[in-house]
Point group: C2
Chain length 339, copies 2
């Protein structure tokens, strides 16, 4: 593999000139520039990122940690972020924490060794002292996505979770539902807490009571949501609609209704947060509250870039993005509606 010295020799210039020709073309004369470029082409020279990183003190690498890349929300988010990063000359090291704190911390360690210039973190679960320490040890800008973490001073980009839940619940109410169950994430997670609050307020605003029996914590997991939905739907006094707080849990609920042979939306209405790429492909088409995933990724990367460039200072702020209700067919008027 050709080095910068080979290029310099071939172009008959100094290595400094080659470096300049590549990084500050305006600083080198036209004839040498041409000679260097020709030599670079002929040798197929590609600068060694490690050497550059060592000398410059910055690697051109960003880290991104997500809980589950298999989740369409995260894979779309990564797609948006990688695109935005590439446009700015950064590569992204994607890490899958599998929703466990250990792997998240392990990844944090390797990212530190890689001397990443910035980190996009979708924190798994709840706060952890250890994690906070590892993040601080990174000594680089961090932007949180999807879930904010209070008190650490990081920028964050999150959905207006309250509004998302409020709109979903209101839509169900508008369809004529009175008993609306909510399958939520763990109460300790801020995102889940906000969504619960939005659900409650929508109910209250419509003059409906909040029935604790209709609120289940399924930890944002599909299997638990499946079980919760099964329990809910087997109950004598079952709900006419189920509102799920994320895409995985929506799938779990779908599975439960299919298994029970229930027809949606005739027997049970379903509405969830997080749009799915195939929401329009199934019957009934799924009514969902979509997150602006692309905008989320772009905003996060923008914030990160500003921090890295030093054009943004001070304590982090939380950017709140608005959800969009995608009205389709899975949430409709209950068939056997008691008027």
């Amino acid at each position: 593999m050709a080095t910068i010295r080979d290029v310099a020799r071939l172009a008959n210039v100094s290595v400094a000139t080659v470096s300049n020709a590549l990084n500050n073309p305006e600083k080198v004369g036209p004839v040498l520039l041409a000679r260097v470029r020709a030599a670079v082409d002929k040798l197929g020279y590609a600068p060694d990122a490690a050497a550059r990183s060592l000398r410059k003190g910055s690697s051109g690498l960003l880290g991104m940690i997500v809980g589950d890349i298999t989740n369409p929300f995260f894979s779309e988010l990564f797609q948006a972020i990688e695109l935005a990063a590439a446009a700015r000359g950064f590569s992204v090291l994607l890490c899958n924490s599998n929703e466990t704190t250990e792997r998240e911390e392990a990844h944090l360690r390797t990212l530190r060794s890689q001397r990443i210039d910035g980190l996009i973190l979708a924190p798994t679960g709840t706060a952890s002292m250890n994690r906070a320490a590892l993040l601080a040890a990174l000594e680089i800008p961090v932007v949180l996505v999807d879930r904010a973490m209070e008190g650490l001073g990081y920028d964050a980009v999150v959905l207006n979770n309250h509004r998302a839940a409020y709109e979903a619940t209101s839509h169900a109410i508008g369809c004529g539902h009175r008993r609306i169950a909510m399958i939520n994430g763990p109460g300790a997670v801020r995102t889940a807490a906000d969504r619960l609050q939005g659900y409650r307020e929508a109910l209250l605003a419509a003059g409906l009571a909040v029935d604790p029996a209709l609120i289940r914590d399924a930890g944002f997991r599909e299997q638990s949501a499946y079980e919760a939905a099964l329990a809910l739907l087997r109950d004598d006094h079952k709900p006419t609609a189920i509102f799920t707080a994320n895409n995985l849990m929506t799938i779990g609920v779908l599975r439960a209704t299919a298994e029970l042979g229930l027809n949606c939306p005739d027997d049970i209405s379903i509405i969830g947060i997080d749009d799915l790429p195939w929401a329009e492909a199934v019957s009934p088409r799924l009514t969902m509250v979509a997150q602006p995933v692309r905008a989320m990724g772009e905003t996060a990367l923008d914030l990160l870039a500003q921090r890295m460039a030093g054009t943004r200072l001070g304590s982090g702020t939380t950017t709140v993005l608005e959800p969009r209700l995608m009205v389709r067919n899975s949430c409709a008027a209950p068939k056997a509606m008691a008027l």
Copy 2:
């Protein structure tokens, strides 16, 4: 950020000893070992990957290029590969080519600069001279996944595409179908060609004619598959079953049938290659031919590791993995069957 010198100073040993303590613990005495470890802990020292890479000539980084990380097949594949790589001490730089050759080549270039130690490539589209040159310039082991590329001498891990299509088609025939359409990828891609061949042979083996009007090329894309299905289903002499050659196209077909108000499987049966995480969640549950994604990732990484370690030599070979038919409900006996 602490360097190895800081550790050496604190532990009162030479930098060489610190390096050895970290990389070849057996080569350093117990008391110094302990001193070094204590110092490392106290300083929170993490070796600089760039410096190490520069000196050792290997980066500990693997590259992985996929066409669309949003596709569940690829995100599961990445998950498996990242896990296997981490177990061997490698990090993975994931690149999304968005199915375009330009971005794929751009990624190839940055991966080269990063001096990755190995590459997992899911090549987009057909062969390209330029790509072949870029790959060769990498001068590192490459393992192809999902699609083999003939004549370049790389190892590859692929599905037994012929068998997958054969089984899918046979299953449809077994259900009583006689007019089975196939929505396929571009004929120029080996994967698509093999699947077509499997479809044909299954038909022939059952004594059925191959009707060219029932075979459509939708380029492995959802939208094209949607359009193809629409055309197919509006025809007077329409098929009773549709076989799709990948997951995206299955979604497209689903959308088309939903739009036409057709009931699956009563009006139209559907069977496709690539399982989907939500195949059991929708009604009807989708009958699909699953790829052994996890095994694929592990095999690919294994091959790559062997090449990198130099324990595997010679020209590359293609490992063929077997599909698994997941019989569910979307492919059933045609209702109005002309006997």
